[in-house]
Subunit: 596 residues, 2 copies
């Protein structure tokens, strides 16, 4: 079985030494979110996730959720329900929710480490409370007063959970195709009919009610994505005054058998004239969903981070314990029958790849979290707008890169175990299977790439990038005299110049051929991720040097940064070459000639 | 459920247009192995694997093997036993085995496409007959006459199967640590005692006997890998005259629960004074095992190829059928509700990556197969020796690259399905799980890398490479006037020069620091694989142009080659940069500072 220890020292390093979040929180009016409070939250989150959630991870996978066809009920794995109850009792569900609805009102950023720990401890379990945040955000930003009154308090205190019902059998990415209908009832509510699939936590036994946020078409809806409206549809009916009614006409038809996250219920939901209420304006449902989606996507990125870290921790332990062969430069532990495999450079390559992607990814994603808070509460509108553009730019990068790296890190970590990694009892293969969902849901990597290059760069004239590049440049200028990071400044300057240049190049080619954007998108996304990470590694070294961290911690940052610049950042060479090649290398082959 | 169609047209292209195997076979004295005969074998193999094996792939995964603790018996999934019986009746088990022991005596190369089809159709099932080949080879090359008489015929005709018993709980890579003991009995046999793990097909219900080839230590054995001997230990005792005896003292203790290949029994075998016979010289067991291992490793490479191809075929079908969104350059199928996703450049990127790695990998691995035949039967000793050096050089490349690409291709293919790829019913996630074993067993990728750079390059003064590079150079010279491949010649020349240069560079650095070999090994291996594949792609285009293949087939080769050179070959840039960086980027970090 794999184990998990919350990486509190690196989390503290990122929050305090690198991002200095307490001073940001103060500036943003989050006066309660002091370092003392954050520390207490971190320690309690570590305790809860390590002792309550992590031990349930293996049983959750082995036993999974079960479905009763006769009743449509879903039973969660043993212990999941009790753990959820403890989570609710600990007040965790409302950690970053508004105080006026019963939440603790902490900044969004304070929820990110909690989420990382939950995902590392038990990704499948984490999906149950996760979706409530999307529902909360949608109602908070777009709901009517009575909807907020009635639905938000139980969502925030965890008595109820929420879902996001978007996907249908014939449409996922292209929501314009969706068919679920909403017919007006006489009382102002709507009757919702249709089939939704892939609904995470769509049915379960943890709470007394479930609040579905459902995309559907009104009778007069225009075709396509401009004719989609958002509805709130509770599992048990709720009147406008909050009175609970009977069962609504929504039923779970089945749950999916999946590669991983067996403890997370992925439901087919059949709506058969279910009572729902319009949220926000008619036909504006997609926009309402998209506001929720940015933070949901950041959240999925953090899932990749959490899984990577758990996998790495176990691979590191195994590599220190497993005695096999000798170091090529002579026995390192001559008194033992063989050296631990961590003396092997190739094992170190895999471990360092994980360490570099995890710690760099932590810095990058926590910073994206901080931008969410700044975008919401910065004193000046300009700062709010800039932070919003920047987080919009970083969101597809964080989502796609941290999940792709999650697949990669769980791969390396399993590989460190050799054949033992393939055996269920070590728990490494579960992490690899669980990680595999993260590059798919909330928009595949390809969709993130189009969001970044097509939407955030081409349509918005690179607003986010034009804010980010000067930040990196400023860092380079400020640190030019700092010996600790001197070796990284040149390569970083070179890469940001190349980033700028590649962006212009794609823009010019896209004028002549719209396919150039789709053809370059994936490689542009990954290029961006690796350059952004290089910045975070250089910043991490600078921050560590200037901090009170131990010599060992500092050397960990310095040597990992060197490794990153020498062996990971050169992946940008491949991506740059792919971007530079014409779209025709992808589009020329006739569709019929793809067969062997 | 995923489907499978044997890619006969590309297999024929590789065998006939690209490698011209019939003329090689004639030259090597395999006069019966004519094109007509090979065609008949290919078609029958396609029929058998498509109609008998492929439909059992999903049940094999879902039901898996089961183990009876009371009796130690293993029951294979429904249909596996009957399929094996048909396989035996079809004479497939002895296809490439010597005629004198009942085989059909076809060249090794003729077995490679069969193996590809079996692995694509049903990897788990394929592991049962697979291991018999290793046992056959070991006995053929190292066994006494009576051992060959008694054991080979039933192994060749499939009445019995074989195993290779190497790994023990505390040793896999480092066999020098193994503890299984062999004590001489009075009758010249030995009593074998110890525990072996990860024994593929170690116990099952398909045949009346199982022949275990077991590594163990004699009482007077020197420590380490020079004290290991090889023994043949049948499940049911067999006397020297072939008389069958009772059950031997070997028992399956359990089977592993694994990430994939659930239909393949991975056994713990407990030997408790089991009767065994020494094969070959005392203390020379490891060398005997290694001769078997080269072809076993090529075989695992072909497993990666087969899985990649099945995954690709299904992703291609899905990408043609799935209607979602519109092409960025305007609707391609305006009469449909949306365009098929294959119009999206990023979907094409994933499909073309698969196509390039699969078809190139097929050419490379079939060529390695041909080298096995040449090494065995070429008229001149020099040619045999050269072929042997070349196949020794190519084996770790084929094993590691084709399995890493298997992981990658099953990843891309699953990704083409979006969220549906994660659901068991589509069968894509099984292929991804099954593929994951291939980079682990028969030596991990890291071990292949050390075999290539440490053993085949450094210890043997690059004998294989010094044969391969002139072959590529000759190709470049010969094709310099051929317009069809002109664009590939320059990049290819550049890459082989760089290959040479990097090899020298590592050699020089290794003199000062032995760790440089381990630090460069993985990237050197992958660099080598991508350059070798570039050669095979250029050769494929040249061969296709000069052939009677259809225009569509030719354009498939040409456009895929262009894609390969533009978007895959640049991966060598990253690997070259990693090789160029010093070993210290991996070794400098103190072991204690790996923690976050």
């Amino acid at each position: 079985m794999s184990t998990y220890t919350a990486p509190l020292s690196d989390i503290r390093f990122v929050l305090y030494d690198l991002l200095d979040v307490p001073s940001h929180f103060e500036r943003l009016g989050h006066v309660d979110a002091t370092r003392d409070l954050l520390d207490a939250v971190l320690e309690e989150a570590a305790r809860f996730t390590q002792t309550v959630l992590a031990p349930l991870n293996e049983t959750g996978d082995r036993i999974g959720c079960s479905f009763d066809k006769a009743t449509g009920a879903v039973t969660t794995p043993p212990g999941f329900r009790q753990a959820y109850r403890q989570f609710v009792e600990g007040g965790w569900t409302g950690l970053v929710s508004p105080v006026e609805f019963g939440g603790q009102g902490l900044p969004y950023t304070a929820g990110v480490p909690l989420k990382e720990m939950i995902d590392a401890a038990n990704l499948a379990w984490g999906n149950f409370p996760l979706l409530s945040h999307g529902a909360t955000d949608a109602l908070l930003n777009h709901g009517e007063d009575w909807q907020r009154e009635v639905f938000l308090r139980p969502l925030v205190d965890g008595t109820w959970t929420g879902t996001m019902c978007l996907t249908e059998p014939h449409c996922g990415t292209d929501l314009g195709l969706l068919k679920t209908r909403a017919t007006p009832n006489d009382d102002g509510s709507h009757a919702i009919s249709g089939t939704k699939i892939f609904i995470t936590a769509g049915e379960h036994d943890m709470t007394e009610n479930i609040v579905h946020l459902v995309l559907a078409r009104l009778p007069d809806a225009p075709a396509g994505s401009r004719g989609i409206s958002l509805f709130v549809v509770p599992k048990f009916k709720v009147a406008r005054d909050g009175t609970m009614g009977g069962a609504n006409a929504v039923r779970c038809g089945s749950i999916e058998h999946k590669m991983g996250i067996h403890g997370s219920a992925t439901c087919v939901l059949n709506f058969d004239g279910a009572q729902g209420y319009l949220v926000g304006q008619p036909h504006k449902g997609l926009a309402a969903m998209f506001t929720m989606m940015n933070t949901a996507r950041l959240g999925v990125g953090v899932q990749g981070l959490g899984l990577s870290d758990r996998a790495y921790q176990n691979a590191l332990r195994y590599s220190r314990e497993r005695l096999q062969s000798r170091s090529l430069s002579g026995a390192k532990f001559p008194d033992k029958p063989a050296d631990p495999i961590i003396v092997q450079p190739d094992v170190r390559r895999m471990l360092l790849t994980c360490k570099a992607l995890i710690e760099g990814g932590r810095a990058m994603s926590y910073h994206a979290g901080l931008l969410v808070d700044i975008a919401e509460r910065a004193p000046s509108e300009q700062e709010r707008k800039q932070a919003d553009a920047l987080v919009g730019f970083m969101t597809p990068i964080v989502k796609a890169c941290l999940t792709e790296w999650g697949v990669e890190c769980t791969y390396h970590a399993l590989q460190c175990f050799g054949g033992h990694g393939y055996i269920a009892e070590h728990g490494m293969e579960q992490l690899a299977r669980d990680a595999r969902i993260t590059t798919l849901y909330e928009g595949t990597t390809g969709i993130q790439a189009l969001d970044l290059l097509g939407r955030k760069v081409m349509q918005q004239q690179g607003a986010g990038l034009q804010l980010l590049l000067p930040m990196i440049e400023t860092f380079c200028n400020e640190q030019s005299g700092n010996e600790a990071v001197a070796e990284f400044i040149g390569p970083l300057r070179e890469k940001i110049a190349q980033w700028q240049q590649l962006t212009l190049q794609i823009g010019q080619r896209a004028v002549a051929n719209a396919e150039e954007v789709g053809a370059a998108a994936y490689d542009y996304l990954m290029f961006s991720g690796y350059v952004a990470l290089a910045w975070w590694w250089a910043r991490s070294v600078a921050a560590a040097e200037g901090s009170a961290q131990s010599a060992s911690f500092k050397s960990g940052k310095r040597e990992t940064a060197k490794f990153y610049f020498a062996r990971i950042l050169p992946r940008t060479l491949t991506h740059a070459a792919a971007i530079a090649s014409a779209a025709s290398t992808l589009t020329a082959l006739d569709e019929a000639a793809f067969d062997a």
